[in-house]
Amino acid sequence: MNTNEMKQKAKSPPPASGAETLSEHESMFRIITKKFFQNKLAVLGLIILLVIISSAVLAPWLATHDPNAQSLTDRLAPPSADNWLGADHLGRDIYSRILYAGQMSLWVGFAAMLSATTIGVVIGSIAGFFGGWVDAVLMRIVDIIISFPSIFLLITIISVFRPAPSMLIVVFGLLSWTTTARLVRSEFLSFKEREFVLAARTLGLPTRRIIFGHILPNAIGPVIVAATLAIGMFIIAESTLSFLGLGISPPTATWGNMLSDSQDLTIFLTAWYYPFFPGLMIFITVLSFNFVGDGLRDALDPRVMEK
């Protein structure tokens, strides 16, 4: 069914008989999922992500080796029946390590996204809804954080404290909620003028309920899109830090620190598979998140929501 047909269907007035209306009852959610599944790239991205996520979750069963078990005889061994994707400079199985690394990389990505989005949504909602000096103060804080050279701040914080996964997540969260906050604020600025907000206020609903129960669900579309794209961004950020040796410390594998370990001319020349596969995983994962994000953006287009 093409977009036009769908819009018409959603627009057409409810027919007189009750049974008919019920059978073709379409909630906003249904319309959105339908629209999302029309986008082939987004669906492809979603499938790849599901495969990657389940492979990470099922790592203990899918792995052929202990990811940290070293075997000196297998150092930089090429892909073979035993080491499917080869072995690294300490003789560890790259395939098994990639699976376990996926757990860590995805966990950092998701958790950082959750913390950044939560902070951003709360601060953006409050700033946008109340306006005035509250807005001014909160948005100046946002400006300060944005204008800070965050990569240096990140490196400083991480090198002062022990680089644990939780540390990374907190720092990512604290440094990158600003985009979400701005996004949510701008949505609130337009939605709070809408009549249903005034109507909710005249019905005596508490302010907290109006902000988070009534305006936020209307503004959530762009937030979901931004959050999806942010996961990819955090995976890259984690890899960057690990690559610089500031990320999650060995022997715990992440895609980033596997890349970092393979930084060696001899390895590049003799064992291409060592840097190639972790890099490929980062590439595919982030690309898939971006496809899904774009698909969500189209599906959540407010022009569709309004129908």
Partner: protein, 336 residues
Amino acid sequence: MNGETVIDIRHLKTSFFSKKTELPVVDDVSFSVHKGETLAIVGESGSGKSMTALSIMRLVPTPNGEIVDGEIYFNDRDLLKQKEKEMFKVRGNEISMIFQEPMTSLNPVYTIGDQIREQLTYHQDITRREAHQIGIEMLQTVGFSRAKEIMGEYPHRLSGGMRQRVMIAMALSNNPQLLIADEPTTALDVTVQAQILELMQKLSKEYDSAIILITHDLGVVAELAERVVVMYGGQVVEEAPIDELFDDPLHPYSEGLLNSIPKIEGTQDRLDSIPGTVPTPDNLPVGCNFVTRCPYAMELCQQEEPRLMDKDSSRKVRCFLHEEGIATDGQQHRSS
């Protein structure tokens, strides 16, 4: 009409502040509404009707707007002295409001049922299931035959008239003593307008609620209201029982409003209109607010501001033409 007073507004003044200037949008407005009565507030856009309503609800847009002065007695309590927390119990429960734009007054992401239940469970100590039942009954009351199905519908599936009926159902579901309807029929088709008006009239009788009907449509006023308050430039210029206003408008502005209604009898080439527009609050003339558009303006009108005077027991007017000792030269002000 002689029932007990539900709301009594005295010398209400609401202003907007920009930089350092104060712009009064509601200026010295006084009127009261009795139990079971429908009072209409009429006036052009920008005359302060809606701001008066929002002032009663204490929902004047912040941070620029502010209620500066006056008292609003609701059941002998001054609403302007209540804490904000108390107001949450008044809104939607004792006073509720319906709006001009039914298309946007419902939250697009929730079903009708969600929205009706939410405010019921918030104001009354009932379970979700009971609220659902009351919701269905309310929807039936406002004329939905498929009330059960409507509870599960999203607002985008309903027409404007249906949404306005949902709004009325929500507004009345907590059995408020006062219903403020801010141009409830302006955005609707003419055929639907009549339905909504009849419904409001029927329900106000049934629930014994007082209604403040804000409109610029004198046809609607004639249909529904018992008493009329005419507003101009943020002030009440005339208050009268509906028949008396239509038969014998005292204020030149009321007269102008009535003359601009198309008449059915006789032929009319052009509709009468009041020349000019309502002055903006930052541009009010010295003296009477209406002086720039008034056909009977006298010198005095440009110097002093008239007060709202009792003409007789039921009528009030703010005009020098009707003040004792000023318009005594036998001036016949009414055009024939």
